[in-house]
Point group: C2
Chain length 228, copies 2
DNA sequence: GTTTTAATATGATTTAGATCATATTTTTGT
DNA sequence: ACAAAAATATGATCTAAATCATATTAAAAC
């Protein structure tokens, strides 16, 4: 991690929903930080120190299991918040890790200042609350998928989600991360990707994946009597 | 559902964190509702109409899958909020169902009034936000458990969680609900309960379960290199 | 109070997907 | 540029847990 100067005071969640009078204070407390690819931004189990707003780059938010297993709960990108789970009422430890998937710039403020900001800016609190509501819904949807959908459908869902995130049918991701995101193993992902390739729903070249037939892919997700 | 008069204006989340001047307005908008055992309080997919505060009884919050499968994402009890997922930015549809597990009294207000309350009472918003943060952490923890723990460990976790909720080592729950909560099938729960009985970690009499050896049960949950 | 319906009990069978094993290719650190 | 580490490829094997099948019992409904 390297410090990377001040921020523009208008892009991030904190600046966007703070009252104009508060921006000066924000300016004093915020700083840009730079993380290079694969660098850990914060680690599950460590004390919560601050909150991060993603400016540039992509980050995976994941829970680790032992030394070699992992579950990616979310991918974050420009505009997203990281470290907000630390605001709960429990122990102040990060319950997830965040790792940069590419070179990443974040805007950072310590938790004390962020909490002061919440007190001063009701709109900020309200927006953050809505953000949580959305994340919770998504987490519960994924929980249900893990229990009731087979791996192929979950992989289809994961591919569509990642594509949506990149706002592009072409994107790059490691099989390992794909496995951790779909809640399965590398080998199973490998095999199911092969099947999707055969069925001409996707095309793969190295680490990059292109979605060729979104409609059919979506059918896999919906093929079950569930709603969505 | 039956209407059941006015509320005491101090027990629920909404009253507790609203400024005194707002309580009169709350009084005009809140009402007690009564649901009997197995009655549906709200249903996944239906438009969000309001928010509920549990006064008495126990409720399961669940996502359905087809007509016969189910995942219980949470049990709610006295003091808990229901229907808050409706505050997200997406479509205003309930993303979960809520069903009374016993005769239940809730305090209800329509969403428009609750949202007005949030605007007027920053503390309320802040507390709700914290509540969400906790729920999100728990949801993600369960996600990880579903992916990385075997059924027996998840059952142990479920039993401990339900016991904690009841604040008692003795509680009553159907095998089916236990299965839906642990993310597995009735048969698998049945078998694993047998094993726990054999190991003298629990005792079962009809639908009631007593935890005999919390420590060993907890070991099952922690037996893996994960943290918690 | 009897008919339906739902929950429980339990063995037998099947299968999706994890694990293991090993070779090859790609990345990354120095 | 080269060694070490990580990611990928792919077949073979194993197993936890789902599914199926069928009694039995308990709870609701009429």
């Amino acid at each position: 991690m390297k410090k990377a100067g001040a921020c523009d005071l208008k892009t991030c969640f904190l600046c966007q929903f703070s009252i104009p009078e508060w921006i000066a204070a924000v300016s004093d407390h915020k700083q840009h930080l730079f993380y290079k690819k694969n660098e850990v931004i914060f680690q599950e189990g460590n004390p919560v120190e601050g909150i991060f707003f993603l400016y540039e780059g992509k980050v995976k938010v994941h829970k680790q299991w032992g030394s070699d297993k992992d579950l990616i709960v979310r991918f974050a990108q420009k505009g997203d918040i990281l470290g907000h789970r630390g605001l709960g009422s429990g122990e102040r430890l990060y319950t997830v890790s965040a790792t940069a998937l590419e070179d990443t710039t974040v805007c950072y403020t310590d938790m004390a200042f962020f909490e002061a900001s919440l007190k001063v800016n009701p709109t900020l609190t309200l927006k953050l609350m809505q953000f949580y509501a959305d994340e919770l819904q998504e987490a519960e949807r994924k929980m249900r998928n893990l229990v009731h959908m087979d791996v192929k459908s979950r992989l289809a869902d994961a591919l569509l989600e990642i594509s949506r995130l990149h706002n592009d049918t072409l994107f790059t991701i490691s099989r390992q991360d794909l496995a951790s995101f779909a809640g399965t193993t590398y080998e199973t992902i490998y095999r199911n990707l092969q099947e999707f390739i055969q069925e001409k729903l996707i095309a793969v070249d190295g680490k990059s994946i292109r979605i060729l037939n979104e409609k059919k892919l979506r059918k896999y997700v919906l093929s079950c009597p569930g709603l969505d």
